[in-house]
């Protein structure tokens, strides 16, 4: 299977701080890859590099045929293929849930308003929020906002979805409703890369788990084997979670 996302020996520093120190991994179509690791291990940075939100200094990243490291990267074409959901939702506060979802399809893809509204309803339906179309973000709970953010991203019909600690700001109950939506997506065959602290979710849903440590891929293992890692570092990391 050809890789949808492929990182090869990626290096990235913030000033004197080396964040990514030779990261390589591949994600195939339909795979769900969970990146775990301590804060500062570089997992969020790696995710942001995949979407060209951060520039890399060395190595190469290929995403759906786009060379992220290249000089001639068409960022807008890349973003049509890659959706991202953030920890802090980043919904547009001046727009309703439905308008948040309609905005990019109408102004980027030129879809008519009527069709865009149907698309928005459809996406809200998929995240279980059909009844919240007219609500503004501040009228929604954190979990609902995050689900709208996922719907907003879905409406652009990306080939890959990135999730950057999307449940870290939510309480356990709200976390559950967001994870259920993500699980549905995974079952629907979406290629997903997620940075997460939810070990249970990673074990259950992830095709592969990537354990990042000190800016490197420390260990890669199938999700179902997360209980039984090879390296003592990952064993300790998992242990500290329980």
């Amino acid at each position: 299977m050809s890789a949808v996302v492929k990182l090869t020996d990626v290096h990235k520093s913030f000033g004197p701080l080396k964040v990514l120190n030779g990261v390589s991994f591949e994600v195939g179509r339909g795979e769900v890859v969970a990146m775990i690791g301590q804060s500062g291990s570089g997992k969020s940075t790696a995710l942001r590099c995949i979407n060209a939100l951060e520039k890399i200094e060395q190595g190469s990243i290929e995403v759906c045929g786009h060379a992220i490291h290249g000089e001639k990267l068409d960022k807008r074409a890349l973003r049509l293929d890659v959706g991202i959901v953030f920890q802090s939702y980043n919904l547009f506060p001046h727009l309703t849930a439905e308008q948040n979802i309609m905005l990019a399809p109408t102004c980027v893809k030129g879809i008519g308003r009527r069709e865009a509204r149907e698309l928005a309803r459809d996406c809200l339906n998929r995240v279980g929020l059909a009844d919240k179309a007219g609500h503004y973000p501040e009228q929604l709970s954190g979990g609902q906002q995050q689900r709208v953010a996922i719907a907003r991203s879905l409406a652009m019909q990306p080939k890959v979805m990135l999730f950057d600690e999307v449940t870290s700001a939510l309480d356990p109950q709200l976390t559950g409703e967001v994870l259920r939506v993500m699980e549905d997506l995974a079952r629907g065959g979406m290629t997903m890369i997620l940075v997460t602290h939810e070990m249970g979710f990673a074990r259950k849903v992830a095709t592969h788990v990537i354990y990042m440590r000190q800016g490197k891929v420390w260990e890669v293992l199938p999700g179902h084997r997360l209980n039984d890692p090879d390296t003592p570092e990952l064993r300790e990391f998992i242990g500290s979670d329980l």
């Binding site: 939100l53 973003r79 959706g83 991202i84 980043n90 547009f92 990019a104 980027v108 503004y136 652009m156």
Partner: protein
């Protein structure tokens, strides 16, 4: 010597009309110019940022009085026919307000979280779409109160236009006082007229501020 009467009051009211007209010119002209300068201030181009920053520094560091002198007398010397007072005063006030409005609006644009730019960027929106569809609607909400507040400053500063011979409210007051020599009656009336123009504006500004602080952000 004539004493301050209805005829004089009528003259003041007409002059107050000119004060409002001049304020409107300064606000609209300065608003358009200031808007583009504010955009240049947050541009991705270092050159545009530098140039617009220098412009703002220069305008904010120059007294309005000197700006008016420069335009009214300076342009005449370098060969342009002396400008009509309304044009000269309008141009001076436009430049003055553009410098301040640009800086007020730059602040408002930058107070919209960076993550909003980022979220829009990740939805494949162009920089212009991000600005007009996501950032500006939020920045305008923040900008309304300070902008209306600055409008009050513009109204009061139009009084300086009298130095280039423009008969607005202050100049009219001075003329009437020269013939009646009743400074208290004349200038208290002038002050009252300024108050009548400015008070609704500042009340509106305060109202906006209250509403935006309590309501949706």
């Amino acid at each position: 010597m004539p004493s301050f009467g209805l005829g004089h009051l009528w003259f003041l009211l007409i002059a107050a009309g000119w004060t409002i007209a001049l304020s409107a010119i300064a606000f609209l002209g300065g608003g358009v110019l200031g808007f583009f300068i504010a955009l240049a201030r947050i541009s991705e181009s270092r050159l545009l940022r530098g140039l617009s920053g220098a412009y703002v520094q220069l305008v904010q560091g120059t007294p309005l009085l000197i700006l008016l002198f420069l335009i009214y007398f300076g342009l005449a010397i370098i060969g342009l026919d002396q400008l009509p007072a309304l044009i000269a005063a309008g141009a001076g006030l436009t430049i003055y307000s553009s410098g301040f409005l640009a800086e007020i609006w730059r602040g408002c644009l930058q107070s919209v979280p960076k993550t909003q730019w980022e979220a829009a960027e990740c939805l494949a929106m162009t920089r212009w779409q991000r600005l007009t569809r996501v950032i500006l609607p939020q920045a305008m909400r923040i900008a309304t109160a300070p902008t209306v507040g600055f409008l009050v400053q513009i109204v009061k500063n139009t009084s300086l236009a009298s130095v280039v011979g423009f008969v607005e409210l202050s100049q009219a007051g001075k003329l009437i006082n020269n013939s009646t020599f009743q400074p208290f009656a004349v200038f208290l009336t002038v002050a009252a007229l300024y108050f009548l123009i400015c008070y609704p504006l500042s009340a509106w500004s305060r109202g906006l501020e209250r509403r935006l602080n309590v309501g949706r952000r």
